[in-house]
Amino acid sequence: MPPKRRSAGPRAVPTRTSSQSQATLSFNGKQNRVTKPGVAPQGKTNKKDPAIVEDVPQAEIKPDVEPEPDLDEPTTAETATAQHPNEEAEAPTDPLQNGASKTEDILGGRAPQSEAGATGGKGSGWLADEETLARKTTDTQIKRYWRAKEAERLAPRVHQEDLTVYAKVLREWDMSGQFGPCIGIARLKRWKRANLLGLNPPIEVLAVILKEMEAGNVKAQRAYVDELMNSRFVET
């Protein structure tokens, strides 16, 4: 993708406040932007999704400092990585009907490309029928998995009282270092990568990720620490 040019905005267009009788042409600015056909489709989220535009910090910063980078628009970095879950979401578009045959379809259709995903090829990322298994996982199974995880620790977890079980499962998934770094990669993509590398990630985590995706929860696509580490607070 060509590097994002700062939109020139109303500053660059010569505004003729004195004689506004003649209509002016503007070749830049928000109303003339044409989306190039090569841009990947957005899928379920639009550009200004709440995970990327931090409205809370913006309200604090704007009165103090004139924002240097355009805080309203996400940088190419964030759009590129935010599109990870969209790209992954496009594969399983058929949740409950014929899940097994669709994965077989995908696998059968991609037979010549043997390496799927993790070792460089272009596969869909599914080894077998993990997706169907995950979608069949019930809530009680997930809760049982979580209770087993909590029982591993001697002391109870503090500061997690106001999180749902799903959020707790996902945070535990982020903090499991044996599946790789959690920053800079979407949770689903990380799960698929761990699966392809043979690390046996728990299927309940995949179930939670898919459930959150279907519920339209965009914040749950990336790790919580990813958001914290990449926050664009402007230091004054």
């Binding site: 993708m1 990585t81 044996q178 790789g180 590398l197």
Partner: protein, 523 residues
Amino acid sequence: MAVQYGTEDEGDDSMLHAPSDTEYPLLDRVKSTYTSLPTYQLPKGEDRHYQQQYADMYFARLAQIKPAVEQIASEAWADFGIAGEKALRKDRVLDVRQGELCWVIGTVYMEMPLKPNVLEDIGKEHWIAAPPPRVKYDSGMANGDSEHGAHAGGGKGLSGAQIMLEDESGRLRLTGSYLEGGLLVTGAIVAVVGTENADGDFEVLEIRVPDLPRQPPRWETEDGDAAVNGKSASQKRSKAGKVAIVSGLGMSGDEGDTLSLDMLMEYLLGESAEPGSQEDASAISRLIIAGNSLSHGSPIPSREEMAAVAKKVGRKTYGYDSSSYNKAPTDRLDQWLASLLPSMPITLLPGEQDPTSTSLPQQPIHAAMFPHSRAYMNAPAANEGAGWFDSTTNPAECSVDGWRLLATGGQPVDDVYKYLPDCEERLEMMEAMLRWRLTAPTAPDTLWCYPFQDGDQFVLKECPHVYIVGNQPKFETVVIEGPVGQQVRLVAVPKFKDTGELVLLDCETLVPEVVKFEVFEEG
């Protein structure tokens, strides 16, 4: 390709007669079967992301190679015991305990004082000139112990190299006299057995490497493709010819480098020398150019050049100054290739100084650089695979006459060379790289590379039959053996500009020979 020759018994007067009616048989060039594998091709355009960190790449590398090392180490150390205590496997590097004999797997990290450090560079940028490029990264203070071997300094706590073992949990410093004999660079995945001593360092008793992966039998790629396409796999294969390998042509457009290049071209076309060598030349079925065809094609200016330009122009210029582009070298290369191409197929690998990406894997030199030779290339949109003229990636994997070839332009080996103090054996480094199963072990530490996220593309999944490295100081070759009977021929190809040597690899026996071109200098 037709060449005429007379019988060898006639002397110089053989041509001094009226035209005769004798029929001279024509020589034809031997054909070669060639498949180029797209192992090192990166996705194009928007699919190539640079947002990710390199930690993903190290993690993927460890995860991919761990199973192989685990198997080798558990077989080797099943009965490893000292004074009745057996060695146990520890899952995480930080789980080692003092006094306990155990073995762990991790990535080697070498802390060397002279390694390029970006923070130091930025801090010093305004104060002193850039240091000259280092030949070796070791500080050289351990020179007194050099007779003890490669990594003496680190073991004794001097300011030499410090070797550590790293995995997801943390880092563990390694010591011990065993390290001095071994070859280790950052990025290699090894298993070490030993115990933790009182300082908290791990004393190494033995090291195991993943060793060579599975080697496909000859013709496996072609047979596999034929099976997929539904054709019968039992085709008659004609006798294979020879492959010519050259590297470091170094065309610069202004120096007097034309004569040896012209001699090389005439030799390959069969136009030169006497009938014996013309017959040899007709056996050459393919030419592989392994890097550095242009001598200064990469336009990234160094710090001194930028300062000089800034002084001249009066303001700081960022990036590439397009008015300084000189098209003569690429023109010359294009003409040279275009005169060879009608007669023989060529595979071109980019090198360190060629006009393509600087980070590994270097992508193929674009067809736009070759206005004449591009007629012999396949259109990029067509999925027919490599054409007659294959501009390919660096490193490149291809299948020539059934044999699997792995060729690089020399940057990985040169970088590994910088890590090893007192070691000048390039063949040993090449062998070590194959045994670690990594084509570029020091990427991304000191070698620029693309941030792979899904898997490390430099991990060798299948063992090649021939490993070719270009731009080395001299020609060397050896055959190494693997644990399951793999045999790999290592070939270090010298720079043509310095030595004038061309390597011919016989494709039936895999034995290389050298043809040397030299110009007599008067005085």
